[in-house]
Symmetry: D2
Subunit: 438 residues, 4 copies
């Protein structure tokens, strides 16, 4: 808007200039973002993000008072609030049969989605995976996204079974099952305290004549350690077996990202999946899939049936912009410090009750043994004491990713975005519970 | 809050009483809603809906300043705006492996979801399907929901192929394919202008030894008519073949709802699927699945892998409350009138250009022949003239649900929520385009 | 923003063009508004108004992340919500000692204020007073604005007393008193049912040697009629006595506006004051003063001591834009119809209880006699029955603007923005109360 | 709401309990606030404040869908946005002729106002003036509030002239003039670098037979120092002369507050006035007047003519709650540190350019001499360099509060809410400007 030209007679020129500087200061990062479409270095303010979303959503046809709407779905809403609850992106995203295709009725939502995808890819590249090619933010959980990816493998690559190093978590299994593909669990074994996959099993089974693919995992709770993705990638490369990595909350960890980068360089990785909420402080509901081949991404996005909700996409866009690279790296540093603090404080507590920390490599979580204690009951009491997120596992019950894990134990996380005070409060409360129920 | 007791010394009692009446007037429908959990008769105001959502979201643990968060996902957000863009329901809904299970970190979102499901079921029942038992609002498109349902049929009922009366629409096909099940297209045939499924083919193939199920459809564009769902339900019942109905935007039509009710009464219907946006003026992104058996619903919701985005659920809740039964019935009446108007005005236009209206039963849409005209080009020009939603189909190209439909034609809809002026403007612009390009 | 150029490679060109049309459709009225600064014919949508306010407030220095703030007041706020509650115009308006002067720290608020003033003046001109010259929207009640105007008259014109035809309303009296000027009440007399000022008294007293000015009034409740402003203006012109008109809620009435226009043409009117809320459906808190001389306006605005709250100004701007001329004229038509309806229905009720309508010229309100009834008690009961706004006056008590008005009576208004249903409900409830307490 | 009872069958009981704890945690401070009406120790979150304002505004009659509105002003608004821009308090506050009287149509706004007044008084008491009795938050600038107070003195106490120790600021003078009272400037004198009032003049003139009152000032820019309010209070007490203190931004300074407390204890202080924005980080537009006698407060609030805008009141309420005592004390500590930093850094800069810091007692601001430099031009350049708030004063021009101040100088403030970085950036930029223009 040429506010300055139009109104320079209304207020003094130097004041107008000053106002214009302030306005431009806020708008120029938006222009830059639209121009370059990269994960910004500096954080955007909430009002900048809001302005961007306002302008984009204003391009959708439901905002056009002059339009004549004679389709069966036209972004009509029951009340203004309903539109606001959708960030005014009421048409959703994509076209039936192509979730990232531009939607003619929603030029703004289409731009918003493209922008989000490009920024998300750039973020993943700059946060550790420069060797991925492309990607998309999907309005689905990571588990459902596994389903889409596996379904694409089945349809386009004839995959009939997924070799899946054991993780005691329902979502991936559900995702594989959704796609109608058989899951072959790769067994795990004990190495000291740690539970790791039996790679020799995987080596035996991973053959292209088996019509199989491998789903490896980087992030889980102790005593489970990350899968050796580089080793697996090499095996997959040798055997021409597709390989997808569930990197659910691994973006926060420089170490994990490095291991994936090496895996891509050294072997075969078809796709890497990550959660938007666990990595980028967005609300639950989205996933980022990145691939090393454009064609494979295309196959995946065509697997989504129908148009999708735009919410997880614009929420992720907002989160990425509110972060920016500089703040994200700072958050990563804090996460590392908190992880150390967690181990230190949990170690002291362990000592005081004659238990110990499990010796397991895990950049985010840490576990304390609870042998000869009612760990489930302690977990329940922590919940009532407003400690959220710890995992209490009894030996012999699922959760350890192995059948007869020799310890009862409690896991706590020092994940990205958690504060020092979260860690300290949780341990203090655990300490209290342990003392009061001795 | 006992504002009245606490503050009666601050302002005069009768004024306090008056203020209290006004407040209660707004809050009592909320209480009633929580108490009875039914589709309300009267519309809720936006501020009432906002208050309800505020109170519910305030119960989630991310709002608890005293909580110690040591999980890997704790509803942390990159900025206040990011939370607001998620209606403050940042934990999403469900648990991994059960999309409608209560989420311990999100008591409020869990309540919100239960409430939405109950209100949605009640709405479907009171709007024409009293004989359905239960249901859920899913944060997925109708097409993806078809995928979930088919996947549940495969897993729990051994279904290997879906008999699908031909509809030229990608979403259902993608949904079936996602689930790894084979699609058997039931061919169609011409009856006058109308395209209808060849039921005899379906009778031949629908046998339980074929491990098949039927996916029928109630809403599509002319010249396709609705599938005869009652007849199909009877066949399915006789042959013990599961039957699901894609009722994408059929809730708006009393006629279609009646036919489904009869189908359920007279034969076998396992589930009925509908879009939230096309029927209830919610943003794109959700679907309502209702079933006649609780067990089947349970199987379906367990198919979703991971936690989902809460957005389509609270958006649908807001839309349902902003509507209410009375307003919805009025909108249905308007839809019927607009449908008549559409046919009348399109008929007049047809006559003036020596074309005619296709003689096809369709309670929402109406088609005009465009023989010997460049129908595709006209469609493109309408888009540029800000007419959204018409479908321009050339004879011999997909869209007619039959291979060699004898006409070129253009379809317009008089869907729920459209206005008289939408119809009139669209036809006027069509008229202009036709005249100016003669 | 050159979104189109930058992003035409992201989504198809024709879609981009379509999105751009939709966006421009919304933004071009804003540009036009800034360019022409006139009361628009068409209503602005809430999202258009919001965008305008967002862009303007973004120019204030508190939004400048790079600014170094070393003043004693810098628009710092206790939380983001606090700023939002001020529409983000946290610097207020004006400079100390000049409420309409541009504020160097707030280029945006300064523009907003200028824009509001110009649009408000244009509105007043086009709604009936083309012969006023200039004006301003003040963040003060009409009564306080009377205080400012009277103070300016005292300071600049040596006025020592205000001749004020009796109105039983505290605000004007308080305003005159605030300015330290003596009020001379011009007595009223009975003409049939109507109470009118004794103009002969005014003629006797209105002499320039008395250092007096006249404050006349156009709007009050029956039995008081409007002051004969044209006659008064002529007297003031002849005697060189300043004349200000309190036109509190007279803008809504074409008749009243016409009488003021004639008064200006035929005699002397220095300023006309009107409420923003009663005329323009803005929240309570602002007034519009218009004058026939620029110098006098300057004297008035310099009377405000300090910077003021921006709220009544941007609220008035929003209200003016949400109205627009076309909608305002429609609301005026409705007001006239409702006024007729009020008289008709109140007349029928009067007849049924052997009372009558007072024969008083008043374009907004209407009064029914309540002789031999406990009118105060009835008024109280109506309040409890949720009827707001009626005035119940007992003979011999203040309110009638004359000492011994011969009737008890109840007044109701059909003011701008009221609905037919307001009128009907109020009369129905009155009817019920009268019946149940006979 | 009994959400827990009603819905305990919907989600597990322990989860319901957990949700309830979270909700109560947020709501109980609100209850406590309404119950005790004190300045809270802990800050309220924005969502807590929003919920409070939502519930209060929901009590006003404009929210009552059942109400019949037949008044001339009924809180009707031109669009939903207009109401939102007024925090939904559309009726404003007060009654005509009594700005703090409860308004029958607005029970919620009335409560809000009472609550704000009580919290503001409590804040002032706990921040240093325990010996004041009562007070009110007015929707007016401090200058206009001076006008109200002076007008009340004139009307009720026969005051005809105000003895006003010279301050070169327009607002107080305008306020006095508004009220139609004569201002007698008390001259100042030089004490070293400092400018202080000539108290002997005041002693001579302050006699009750003069019908005078004194307006003293605590906060202004160097070289002006605070008035010796204790000494003045004693004189006023002895002579039975009313005394009001303009404490515009003195609440932030413990020292200034202490001096006022002593003045009240030792002599006569009728009222103390303070700005809401400069002290409590609220938007510009409100003032807090506190008095030592209830009757005097009553006289002041009755001086406001008409109902006022509610905006400055609820903005102040929000700011007070967002602060709380603990955070306010921390901000005061920071202010003191920043003031020291300002003097230190400005001192170093002064030395480097052969100027010096003025030796003036001022707890907020600090001045550097600019002798033989074009100080006005430097001020202008700083504005363009985005330094806001410095005052550049040329010897012999107004601003120094004395006629022939011997220096040119530049003032900077370290006011409450300013950051260390504000100070450092400003000095750095000044340094640059000085160097580049040598």
């Amino acid at each position: 808007m040429e506010i300055d030209k139009l109104l320079s007679d209304l207020i003094p020129k130097n004041m107008m200039r000053r106002g214009r500087i302030t306005l431009d200061e806020q708008i120029s990062p938006l222009k830059d973002l639209l121009n370059r479409r990269r994960f910004p270095d500096a954080s955007f303010s909430d009002s900048q993000i809001e302005l961007l979303l306002t302008l984009l959503s204003a391009m959708d046809t439901d905002k056009d008072a002059e339009a004549a709407r004679v389709g069966e779905r036209e972004g009509r809403v029951a009340s203004p609030l309903v539109a606001r609850l959708a960030g005014n992106f009421v048409h959703g995203i994509g076209r039936s049969g192509h979730i990232t295709a531009p939607q003619p009725k929603a030029a703004g939502a289409s731009l918003m989605q493209k922008l989000t995808n490009q920024i998300a890819i750039d973020a993943i590249q700059r946060l550790g995976l420069p060797n991925i090619k492309c990607g998309a933010v999907l309005p689905l959980s990571t588990g459902m996204t596994i389903g889409l990816v596996v379904s694409a493998l089945r349809r386009e690559h004839g995959v009939k079974q997924i070799l899946f190093p054991r993780i005691d978590h329902k979502s991936p299994t559900r995702g594989i099952s959704l796609a109608g593909v058989k899951e072959i669990t790769v067994p795990t074994e004990l190495q000291g305290d740690a539970v790791v996959p039996d790679v020799s099993f995987l080596e035996r089974e991973a053959k292209s004549e088996n019509n199989c693919a491998v789903l490896s995992t980087t992030t889980f709770f102790p005593p489970r350690e990350s899968d050796p993705v580089k080793e697996i990638a090499k095996i997959c490369s040798e055997r021409s077996v597709p390989h997808i990595i569930n990197n659910a909350y691994g973006v926060q960890s420089r170490k994990i990202m490095k291991s994936i980068m090496s895996a891509i360089d050294a072997g075969r990785v078809d796709a890497v999946l990550q959660s938007t909420d666990k990595n980028f402080l967005a609300p639950v509901g989205g996933a980022i899939v990145v691939t090393t081949r454009e064609k494979f991404l295309e196959e995946i996005v065509k697997t989504y049936a129908g148009r999708g909700t735009a919410a997880p996409v614009f929420q992720t866009l907002a989160a990425l912009l509110a972060l920016g690279l500089t703040r994200y790296q700072k958050l990563r540093d804090e996460q590392q410090e908190n992880r150390k603090l967690l181990e230190k404080e949990l170690g002291q507590l362990a000592e005081s009750i004659s238990q110990r920390i499990l010796d397991v490599k895990n950049p985010i979580a840490c576990a304390i043994t609870m042998d000869d204690m009612d760990v489930k009951e302690i977990g329940g009491r922590l919940y009532n004491r407003r400690v959220t997120g710890p995992r209490a596992v009894k030996s012999g019950t699922p959760g350890s990713c192995i059948d007869d894990y020799p310890h009862d134990y409690l896991v706590m996380n020092a994940a990205i975005g958690a504060t020092k005070s979260d860690i300290q409060k949780a341990i203090k409360k655990l300490y209290k519970e342990l003392k009061s129920h001795k």
